[in-house]
């Protein structure tokens, strides 16, 4: 019975055992239970089985779905990401991933007015062209894009940088209940259901956004790095563009004065949104207004 193996997967995916995960990825054992019982880490893991089962149970009661990387429904595109998630948690209909090609929209949490208007235009246009929108589902550009796409009758996938049972997610779920139940919104997370928000996780989720998307549109990005209160900070949007570029996904950036946009265009990581595409499979879909 596969259900009974799920907590093994949780312990493998979320524990502090980096080496164990490495061994697992190398060996790709067919029977995860047998594999784990042979590992030196097992004595620390076994006492935790029921606790994880309780959490998973709570998540499933919320209508959630649990997916391992062995599952037939596990999205193949995620294998393009570095360290593809061993497990995925989903709220909403998983089949949305297959129902339309996905275009990622990324941008800052505190967008300029111009960027907000542009987000709506881009999201509207992509939806009309038959794309689903995938975002990091943060406040600002991400959620404006999601709202616009849903209002235009499209579908949306959000990759959350926190667990799907966290307080933050529960609020989101109540707020976005209608599109979730209408099978037009899918929320995904690779994190333990109870994990809270963290900036590290926010960066890590960019690789999943990029992997699932056919291409990425950067609306408005801060500079790659800047100083804030004397500390070096990296722009999440910029990092998303870099990750996608490295993965071989086409990255577009709007030609807005934002420092990150200009940097991306100058370095050649991104193309200017609005230029005609050469030999790209998206070109036939009349990408540009």
């Amino acid at each position: 019975m596969e259900e009974r193996e799920w907590v093994y997967w949780m312990l493998l995916a979320h524990g502090e055992h980096r080496d164990l995960r490495k061994r697992f990825r190398q060996q790709q054992p067919a029977d995860i239970g047998a594999f784990l019982r042979d590992q030196p880490e097992w004595t620390q893991m076994e006492p935790l089985l029921t606790q994880e089962a309780l959490v998973l149970h709570q998540f499933l009661q919320q209508g959630g779905q649990f997916l391992t990387c062995y599952h037939p429904e596990y999205p193949a595109r995620l294998h393009d990401a570095s360290a593809p998630p061993l497990v995925l948690y989903a709220l909403g209909k998983l089949a949305l991933l297959e129902s339309a090609p996905l275009a990622a929209i990324a941008g800052s949490r505190n967008p300029s007015e111009e960027a907000q208007t542009q987000t709506q235009r881009v999201a509207q246009h992509l939806t009309e062209q038959g794309y689903g929108i995938i975002t990091g589902f943060a406040k600002g550009i991400d959620q404006i894009a999601a709202r616009t796409a849903l209002e235009a009758g499209g579908i949306v996938v959000g990759i959350l940088p926190q667990g799907l049972l966290s307080k933050l997610t529960q609020q989101l779920v109540r707020e976005w209940m209608q599109p979730l139940n209408d099978d037009r919104l899918l929320l995904l997370s690779e994190l333990h259901p109870l994990a809270g928000w963290s900036s590290g996780a926010a960066m890590m989720r960019n690789r999943l956004v990029a992997a699932l998307a056919e291409f990425v549109v950067i609306i408005e990005s801060g500079a790659r790095e800047s100083l804030k209160n004397g500390k070096k900070v990296f722009s999440g949007t910029y990092q998303c563009a870099e990750v996608a570029h490295k993965m071989g996904r086409t990255v577009y950036a709007l030609d807005l004065p934002a420092p990150g946009n200009q940097q991306l265009l100058k370095t050649g990581i991104a193309r200017r949104w609005g230029e005609p595409l050469e030999q790209s499979h998206h070109s036939q879909l009349h990408l540009f207004p």
């Binding site: 239970g33 089985l49 029921t50 709570q58 009661q61 779920v173």
Partner: protein, 664 residues
């Protein structure tokens, strides 16, 4: 784990030299990762099986349906075997709960008892990732199955949890009674590999009798008679809360030391159980709210004033008698109306399909908490909770940790399933009614229904002996008939820690009585004023039932719509009794007739601030008069306003009361 190691633990920790048949097998099977179902009669030692597992494995989570049950088992585990057992439940405040959970986290608890609902409690959820739980026990496992005698939808959660547990976590389900159908259902739900141990069910020391009664009065006579006849102390089961109060009152008036006991009582339930255990009471007159947790091995009799819903219920309830192995009596009073009563209870046990749809539709529109849903739908708390659990069970809605319910998908509510359950329950009821007439040994009949084909004739029941119980004195009938005619009112509400009303009676029942018909005609079909004979009977009843010389005045409840029906009745009654008439309650705004509202929250909202008292009452003792009482909410609200205005003792009197809530 080897049997020798088990024997060592058994001897050193539990002080036994040997296992009972099957105990060792069960423990080993569970430790090897098989799911174990133990179907064994009470007293066989099911708890030893999981107490051993807790001693061997560490923190063991025990799901149990009733708080009373948990309390007793915690005490037993602590006292007898020095296990560290505790419970977290809703009787405890948050700090107490936290203290227990902290101890569990720190490895200071072996057995932790919780109700299945606890899984969705926010505090529990905060702790669950730190609780070192090593084994899971499902007590009263028949509650998992809709085919059992006590299905609890919240038990389905445990099933979903257990299915996620890998074989390293032992899972033991235990029950005293499961028909073959229930057994199969539990097996399918909990999943393979499954190991069943089923024991024999015959209880040779129980003496089963069935006694026919043809009226309420005859039933009371037999109860009175049986309490004189039977030795020791025991239980009198009734089918409803109202009946338990009614029967208890009669038996008290007849000089028996009895008390009523039902789920509507609060903390005093424990005290009542203790009184029974110490034999300070001849009997508790109870609904099936009493039972599983009662730890009284020398219970000498279990009398059923009404026929239960199935042989399974009956076996379970009489099973509490004679656990010490001494002869004990189990008498079923069979009244022709029992069939209708049980049929109604079975049919009403599930809310109507459109109520399900209403709740589901609301939750598709926006997330809501239970109170909002209650106000919005008008459903009773019980109905609403049943609906919510069923919809959760069907995966259509969920509840988050901030207590919001919401739809999680669009789908069809499956009513077909419930229809099948309903039919199965009616079928079980037929089997129970056939118990009245069976020519077979009664114990054998029950055991065979429960899947034990090995049962032989008991030799002590009324069928085996071909002899019934000695009949009561004919002289007992007159008093019982008088009592059966004036039922007590369902009264609730507390003012400054005292019940609002000292006591209350109705002249008669509303349905199926001459008085009820007259009231209905006069009130709802404009049949005019009440005839004089009704007033005279009312006056006689008040003189008999209330301390009239201690009543200063008579106060009518103002009507919800215009019309002076109650005032007219109250004025004429006051005149007849020679007591002052004081219409001090006044409406401040129009209200809807109470019967249009279906739940207590709504009824109370309907009356909120709608009544006021026109003068200070300076300790006056009052008889509050209404025409028909159903839920008792109107009397409660009015009583509190009178108390606030300074009233002394309050009594209530109505022309009629409904037999079951909502019969108006």
């Amino acid at each position: 784990m080897h049997s020798q190691d088990l024997m060592t633990v058994l001897r050193e920790r539990f002080g036994f030299d040997a296992f009972r048949d099957g105990q060792e097998e069960a423990i080993l099977a569970a430790l090897e990762g098989r799911r174990v179902l133990l179907i064994q009669p009470t007293g066989w030692g099911k708890s030893l099986v999981y107490q051993m597992i807790a001693a061997l494995r560490g923190l063991t989570l025990v799901f149990s349906p009733l708080r009373a049950l948990m309390r007793d088992q915690v005490r037993q585990a602590c006292e007898r075997y020095a296990l560290r057992a505790d419970t977290v439940n809703s009787d405890m405040d948050e700090e107490e709960q936290q203290a227990v959970l902290e101890r569990a986290v720190n490895g200071q608890i072996d057995l932790l008892y919780i109700a299945p609902e606890r899984l969705s409690n926010p505090l529990w959820q905060e702790y669950q990732l730190r609780l070192p739980i090593r084994a899971v026990v499902i007590d009263e496992a028949h509650c998992v199955s809709v085919w059992g005698h006590d299905f609890r939808p919240e038990y389905r959660r445990i099933v979903h949890l257990v299915r996620l547990l890998p074989p390293e976590v032992p899972v033991v389900a235990v029950t005293a009674t499961a028909t073959p159908r229930v057994e199969q259902d539990v097996r399918e739900q909990i999943g393979e590999p499954f190991h069943i141990l089923r024991g024999a069910l015959t209880r040779p020391n129980l003496r089963l009798f069935v006694q026919r009664v043809n009226s309420d009065a005859e039933k009371l006579v037999w109860l009175d008679h049986l309490l004189r006849l039977l030795p020791g102390s025991g239980l009198v089961y009734t089918a409803t809360r109202g009946n338990s109060e009614w029967v208890a009152q009669y038996l008290q008036e007849r000089g028996h030391t009895v008390a009523y006991y039902h789920a509507g009582l609060g903390a005093e339930r424990t005290a009542l159980e203790q009184q029974l255990i110490r034999n300070e009471l001849k009997a508790l007159v109870c609904t099936n709210a009493l039972g599983m947790g009662l730890d009284k091995p020398d219970l000498r009799f279990v009398i059923h004033a009404e026929t239960p819903a199935s042989p399974l219920h009956y076996y379970q309830e009489i099973g509490r008698a004679g656990r010490d192995g001494e002869p004990s009596w189990c008498v079923l009073l069979a009244h022709p109306d029992d069939k209708i009563l049980q049929e109604n209870m079975i049919r009403n046990s599930r809310p109507a399909p459109n109520a399900y749809q209403q709740v589901y539709t609301l939750l598709q529109q926006s997330p809501m908490r239970e109170r909002e849903l209650s106000l919005e739908t008008g459903l009773t708390q019980n109905s609403l909770r049943t609906i919510l659990y069923d919809l959760m069970d069907q995966g259509l809605i969920t509840r988050d940790s901030e207590r919001y319910y919401r739809a999680i998908r669009r789908g069809q509510i499956d009513h077909f399933h419930y229809q099948a359950i309903l039919e199965a329950k009616l079928h079980d009821l037929e089997a129970m009614l056939a118990y009245w007439e069976t020519s077979e040994c009664r114990m054998r009949y029950l055991c065979r229904f429960l899947g034990d084909e090995t049962a032989r004739n008991c030799g002590v029941c009324d069928r085996c002996q071909q002899k019934g119980l000695p009949p009561p004195e004919p002289a007992l009938f007159a008093e019982a008939e008088r009592f059966a005619y004036h039922p007590p009112l369902p009264l609730s509400g507390v003012y400054q820690k005292e019940p609002v009303y000292v006591q209350g009676y109705a002249l008669s029942y509303y349905g199926g009585t001459p008085i009820g018909e007259v009231v209905h005609r006069c009130k709802y079909e404009s049949g005019g004023a009440l005839p004089d004979w009704v007033i005279q009977q009312a006056a006689t009843c008040v003189r008999e039932r209330f301390p009239l010389q201690q009543i200063d005045a008579l106060v009518p409840i103002p009507p919800s719509v215009s019309g002076g029906f109650v005032e007219d009745f109250a004025r004429r009654l006051a005149q007849q009794l020679g007591v002052p008439y004081m219409p001090v309650l006044q409406k401040t705004r129009a209200t809807r007739p109470q019967k249009e509202w279906t739940n207590k929250v709504q009824k109370a909202e309907n009356l909120k601030d709608a009544l006021l008292c026109t003068q200070p009452l300076n300790g006056k003792r009052l008889l509050v008069v209404d025409d028909v009482s159903d839920s008792g909410v109107t009397l409660e609200v009015a009583g509190k306003i009178l108390k606030k205005a300074g009233a002394g003792a309050l009594y209530a009197f109505c022309l009629a009361r409904t037999r079951h809530r909502g019969d108006l």
